[in-house]
Point group: C2
């Protein structure tokens, strides 16, 4: 249920669901409330006054009984429970006037799903493995066709399915199965994706079981592995699970995994770890209680009812999963063993699935544009749009794809780990206590730290870093080169690594030191965003277009969902486009894997898409280095590329 | 080296190779020489006089020094060594005049091979698995295609091979193999049999090894298993081995094997036995010293160099080999599990072959017209001839195929085991001491017994039985109903089973009793030949033709090579055609397996041939029973079907 929350003196109203804190409701409108402790309710800086209506909670030892009686609450712990009007007092941050808002409204990318209904409406819902019920006539003296021939001809007559082959395990059971229920059988058919292979009968059961057809979508990330259990009959997601990729103990990035895989037994170890992790996910997915699903009985799903699995991952993860030596991925000229993978038996890969289960592995484009990106391009529908689209998946590497249904170019950018908290003094992964959102009062330089889990801040995660740098830059604390201007606040001080800005004093922090951001951190951030922007700009200019021609941006990856669009366009991470033209697809790799599980058409199209995807090795492209250097500014040396920033910068 | 051997008084000359006995030379011309002891040199009845030239051997204690000096020798042990003139004295059998010959010239079917050179000339020599050498350019910054893509594109550029898929085991070794010999590799490709599906890369090796490509052809008979090791590069047969089918301990015929397979673990036992026997054959084939073969080095062939195997057998043998339950083969309406079999991994069948080796199993037509017959139809070239052909494979069952390149009909006839010595008082398999050839002096009723291995006779094998019945009938000892006429000889006597004729007295035999043939034996023989002839006649009349339209007969099976054509047409086993129109193909099943190994075209055509092969269940065909009863005469109740026999019968 949503409620109107009106903030004074700005007199701006947000509609937020029950239970959202006042501080987050304010932040969504771009209103600043001082908050050092990350919303943990300890610093006492975020006091606001309830002028009308009620909130839940918000009391604290920092507030006297008189304060409470007068309607004062802490904005970070006061939760919306109904329509309410709230005044932000001067001492809490917003002085009214010019600073009644100090940040643009929170604007994140619109969630976009290439969804099931669309798939069905377009006639693309066709799982690669189907279960078909066949009622056959029993043999007679006048019709003593072989069992297999009877079944195959039944498929042709009853379903129009031709070019069918039967494998040996099915033949070995066929006679018994056919006679168990008087020649009523269910045939599990793995359809040829493109007519280049025969349709394979991979299983037979006595009786009619067409409604029991399940599949898996798996994303093998360098850090995390996700899996979804799918009802292939309805297309519904029945369960989702995730876990760390256990290879992480042998190195956080792909290079260190490759180095380990080159050791004796290293590849086998890497392979066994990821296979075991996926098997564990499968176990957990099957153990989850089933959500209600149309046409699906409550009978628990048996492992033997899983008929297919689609796996997507970057090129190195794919190699390690398949047991392919990744050695040459890390050495110039960066050659993978293969970018296409044949349809496989899941059991041949060590997966705890029935012998008939089919495993499909997403193809890669190159060593650094992997199956995860291809899956994203497929799953997001980018390969079918007419709009000139920029697809970005930001992780340790950022992979960029530009194009539309007619052409596609791609490249990997070494963004470095800044967006994952790496190389930043107080950087951290997006975990509890990480500053994920931020605003700054440009009069008092008091910050509004919003942390994951509303804990006292212990560090800065990627989305926080982006928004902190954008706020410091926007309010003049940073210049275009990423150096601090001499602003008058004790929060700016000389540190070990140049000037630093204190985001939270130790007293308000969850750790025993101040939480700061310094010029080296900002440098690292700028290098990361410059690599991405320069990559995109180089790519699009290689095909004779410019960033101004972009009509759509699709963000993928965990980071993508948290990117504040205004911040990203302020610092020059993303080109300036209207915020409504930015879509977020979440885990593009997992989404693409699911879409392929549900649609043979997508499986078929992927081959053509990969052939079409022209991969650039940016280090080999002449102008990339220049583009990169030009991007090492906030937002860019060529300010004309960012007309909105240009307007306030020159004000 | 051949020599002219002239026999007097007939004054007929045979050309025979060095070392052939005089008695066999005489027999080949249809000349009779008394011989009771089977050519063992003990009865002394076959004395002949050398009138010119020399022979080797032929002396015996039955011949005095004076006899020897006068040029007398025993025809059975006197071997041709040069040009020679031999007189057969009256007492030895031929009285001259009307009886200077007492049997037609020995006429067996012409050996026919659908041979390698013909295959090559017609452009059909194309093994299903090829080894192709590829010299690839190493990767560079400007060309960092994946290893697999480089190989696949190399195959397209250098061999025009497209639509190629790579399997996982190959991918797992590919990076190392490519770099071991600077990107010179040998690719083993299993070609799509019909061009509709992908060609599979099943192996890669460093260096160029295109000349080392080996295959196996295997025939699984109910009694015997044969194997050939083939050089797939030249097409040559490098080795051949045979052994009993060890399932024989569980029953001699397919029905008893099926009954056993229905027991608990019975199918597994049958399967393991045949697989072990084939593995043993493979071991022996590989252990055989290699014959000189063009382009083949003397390096012994390694098991891992065998890339494919083609297996043919009857429907039950095929089921047991594949581990398919044969239960319904023996029960009306006689339904096999499958008649077509997918290409398989040899290792999935338990064969001791490398993981990449492909196993192809010949399709069947029905429960009783199996892959062995289909292989014969393919291997003999029957499916490509314009001549209206009768193909017969005689074993316990006789399978019959009639047709040509345009149409084919087939059926199995329950001939019974008479041709294998079963159900005949002194019947035996074709082994040492078996009477395999025979003639009769119609004046003295003295026989000329020729045995396998020139041993004193111990029984009668199939070819002997046929020729004995034919001789007795031709000379009036038997009437058309197969009963003895009252001829004046002590050799004809009342026995336990009606009248019997003594072929060899105990004194001349290798056993301690007389060797006889009685009226029950003759009855059983007539039933067997009647089943076959009636089957062929029924089939051909079902398609609106008559036996007189037949232009060619192809005999297959061990028995086929020994059939005396005149005898077969005298008793009404085969329809009367000119002897030169009868071909013998030996083990048709093994031959077909070999041809499929060497020619993808034959593998492709077999699918269409099997679809074309219309199978008749004779017991379901209206007129078969009448035809059978009409055939229970020598040669037939309708004597007009046998004009040659008719001529001398009515003389």
């Amino acid at each position: 249920m949503e409620h109107a929350v009106t903030f004074l003196p700005a007199n701006r109203t947000a509609r937020v669901p029950t239970g959202v804190s006042l501080i987050k409701a304010a932040r969504a409108l771009g209103l600043h409330i001082n908050s050092s402790c990350g919303g943990a309710g300890v610093c006492g800086k975020c006091r606001v006054k309830i002028e009308q209506g009620q909130v839940e909670g918000g009391s604290s030892e920092k507030l006297s009984a008189a304060d409470l009686a007068a309607g004062y609450r802490q904005a970070c712990t006061a939760l919306v429970a109904g329509e309410v009007t709230v005044r932000i007092p001067v001492e809490s941050g917003a002085s009214g006037g010019a600073f009644s808002t100090v940040a643009p409204e929170r604007q994140r990318a619109r969630m976009h799903l290439f969804d099931l209904e669309a798939l069905k409406q377009e006639g693309l819902f066709e799982p690669p493995v189907e279960k078909l019920c066949l009622e056959l006539t029993p043999p007679s003296p006048a019709d003593n066709r072989a069992d297999a021939g009877r079944m195959i001809q039944g498929l042709a007559e009853q379903y129009g399915l031709r070019q069918v082959a039967v494998n040996l395990p099915v033949l070995r059971r066929l006679g018994r199965v056919m006679r168990e229920n008087n020649f009523l059988i269910t045939v599990t058919v793995a359809r040829s994706v493109n007519g280049k292979f025969r349709n394979q009968i991979v299983n037979v059961q006595a009786g009619c079981w067409s409604g029991r057809n399940f599949g898996l979508a798996i994303d093998i990330g360098t850090t995390t592995i996700y899996g979804q259990l799918l009802d292939m009959h309805s297309g519904a997601i029945l369960a989702e699970e995730g876990d760390y990729n256990p290879q992480i103990s042998y190195g956080e990035d792909v290079i260190s995994r490759i180095v380990f895989a080159e050791k004796a037994e290293g590849l086998a170890t890497m392979n066994e770890l990821v296979v075991a992790a996926i098997n564990n996910l499968i176990r957990r997915l099957l153990a989850r209680p089933l959500p209600p699903s149309p046409g699906l009985s409550e009978t628990p799903i048996g492992r033997e009812e899983i008929n297919s699995v689609t796996v997507a991952g970057n090129t190195t993860m794919t190699h390690l999963f398949l047991g392919l030596a990744p050695d040459h991925i890390r050495r110039a000229p960066y050659v993978p063993v293969s970018t296409f993978f044949p349809p496989l038996r899941a059991t041949d890969l060590g997966l705890d699935l029935p012998p008939h289960a089919l495993a499909l592995v997403y193809p890669s484009v190159s060593s650094y544009v992997g199956g995860d990106i291809v899956a994203g391009v497929m799953g997001s529908g980018m390969y079918r749009t007419g709009l000139l689209t920029l697809y970005i998946d930001i992780g340790t590497n950022a992979e960029i794809v530009i194009g539309n249904r007619d052409w596609l170019v791609c490249a990997a950018c070494s963004a470095g780990p800044a967006f994952e908290g790496g190389g930043i003094t107080h950087g951290m992964r997006a975990a509890r206590g990480a500053i994920e959102d931020f605003s700054l009062n440009p009069e008092t330089w008091e910050p509004m730290n919003i942390t994951i889990g509303d804990r006292p801040p212990i560090g800065i995660c990627g989305s926080g870093l982006l928004i902190i740098v954008a706020a410091l830059f926007r309010h003049g604390a940073l210049n275009q080169a990423g150096r601090f201007n001499p602003i008058d606040t004790p929060r700016l001080r000389q540190g070990k690594n140049g000037m630093e800005f204190v985001l939270a004093w130790e007293a308000d922090a969850g750790v025993e030191h101040d939480i700061v951001i310094n010029e080296v951190d900002i440098d690292n951030f700028i290098r990361a965003k410059a690599a991405i922007f320069a990559g995109a700009k180089t790519l699009i200019e290689e095909v004779g277009l410019s960033v101004a021609d972009l009509e759509q941006i699709i963000l993928a990856g965990a980071f993508g969902s948290y990117i504040d669009l205004d911040a990203a366009m302020t610092v020059g991470l993303l080109p300036e486009v209207a915020p409504e033209k930015v879509l977020y697809v979440g885990n593009g790799s997992l989404m693409g894997a699911r879409m392929s599980e549900l649609s043979n058409h997508i499986r078929r199209d992927v081959v053509e898409v990969v052939r079409k995807l022209t991969s650039f090795e940016l280090s080999e492209v002449r102008h990339f280095k220049d583009q990169y250097v030009a991007s090492l500014f906030l937002p860019h040396t060529d300010i004309s590329l960012f007309p909105k920033v240009s307007r306030w910068l020159n004000r």
